[in-house]
Subunit: 234 residues, 2 copies
């Protein structure tokens, strides 16, 4: 399995891609360099804004997503991971353009939730507005009999703005607090778990300050990539 | 310049490569994803141990280094950065195998030291034993009229072991303290600056605890890559 190359189609944004890469390193059992996995990352931040395309008919990100996926496939990647929840709305088009499989971060997250005891039937979603409006989490979680609770319209505006702040490089406690309190509001409304459904959110989310544990899809994606590379997933 | 792709030949080790990538992100002026640079990273931790090859005639890392450089070139990288000081001993052989230029992290570090006021004439070196014994820092710094002070034999054994600890994932203060005190010993012997000449060291080195500022070649390499991608270097 040591020749397997994990491909990461990233740059949406770059810091979230660095976070996925770090999670993969952390989840790989290794005593020396050579125990680690081959990973090929194309951080392509020039991919047009996903939320803008979904909500406002902005430039289509698919051509650049497809070109990036093909670059990774040609270079030898055996699987693709895409550390951007919003980009998963375009997964069918990307998958159609390459022969290698693409891990689905949202399905991986659902898989983890379904293995929880006690069973989770309602999950709260903190995500970019394009992800929320696309209903991609609702559609995939419905297959696992998990209902998705989304923030109120006002809260969603604040969450999306805070995500842009993280993309700008902010790591301020006030920005993290937007996510902490929005998640708490979802729990007060009956969510049994909160999903950090934008890969920028784990960069600032602090469970100790939030007062509750949240599910991190970036970590679920990293775990799936490591299992694939080590051949430990059936 | 927005089509320029920075290639990173990494995995030696992976956490050091993640650190270079994070430094590039941090040094790029960006308000939104699309302001960031295209970066292609091949993290190939299967490259044989560099120090083992230099000191003990271990497996030659050149074939795997060359194959990785060629993969990045074929995939579209316009320049290469290699976040491993030790691997720089093999730079001529890698450069011979590709048409794109390779940034030299040690020359970039020397360039920064030469711009210091007051002038630095003696620099202390904390590095893996292969880097120290190869005298690559001495040879490059000599061109900039900077003398290199290396640790005593006993200190060097401790430094090399601490580097292996970092590669194993340790972030313990006791490991960092090996670097802090070895650097302090070099300053006591007349070094005006200490160079963190192994890319694992900045992962744990803490200037506040060490009590002195040290020069970080990973950051020098990141700055050079950003300048190349933005077209701001003459």
């Amino acid at each position: 399995m040591s020749d397997r190359i994990v491909g990461i189609l990233g740059g949406m944004g770059p810091a979230a891609t660095a976070d996925l890469y770090s999670e993969i390193i952390r989840l790989t059992p290794a005593l020396v360099d050579q125990d680690h996995l081959r990973v090929l990352i194309y951080s392509n931040p020039k991919i047009p804004d996903r939320t803008h395309a979904i909500l406002h008919g902005g430039e289509d990100p698919v051509p650049e997503l497809v070109a990036s996926a093909r670059l990774l496939e040609r270079a030898g990647a055996g699987i693709l991971a895409i550390p951007c929840n919003n980009a998963h709305c375009f997964l069918p088009q990307i998958q159609q353009a390459v022969a290698i499989p693409i891990l689905n971060m949202i399905e991986e997250t659902c898989r983890i939730l379904r293995s929880c005891e006690p069973r989770v039937s309602k999950a709260g979603l903190l995500a970019a507005s394009g992800t929320v409006d696309s209903r991609i989490y609702e559609n995939i979680f419905a297959l696992g009999d998990i209902q998705v609770l989304v923030p109120t319209r006002d809260e969603q505006v604040r969450i999306h703005a805070a995500i842009q702040d993280v993309k700008r490089g902010s790591r301020e406690p006030a920005v993290a607090e937007v996510f902490h309190s929005a998640g708490a509001a979802l729990m007060a409304r009956g969510a049994e778990s909160v999903v950090l459904g934008c890969t920028e959110i784990p960069l600032v989310f602090d469970p100790a300050r939030a007062g509750y544990a949240a599910l991190n899809p970036t970590r679920a994606l990293a775990a799936a990539a490591v299992e694939w590379a080590l051949g430990t997933r059936s």
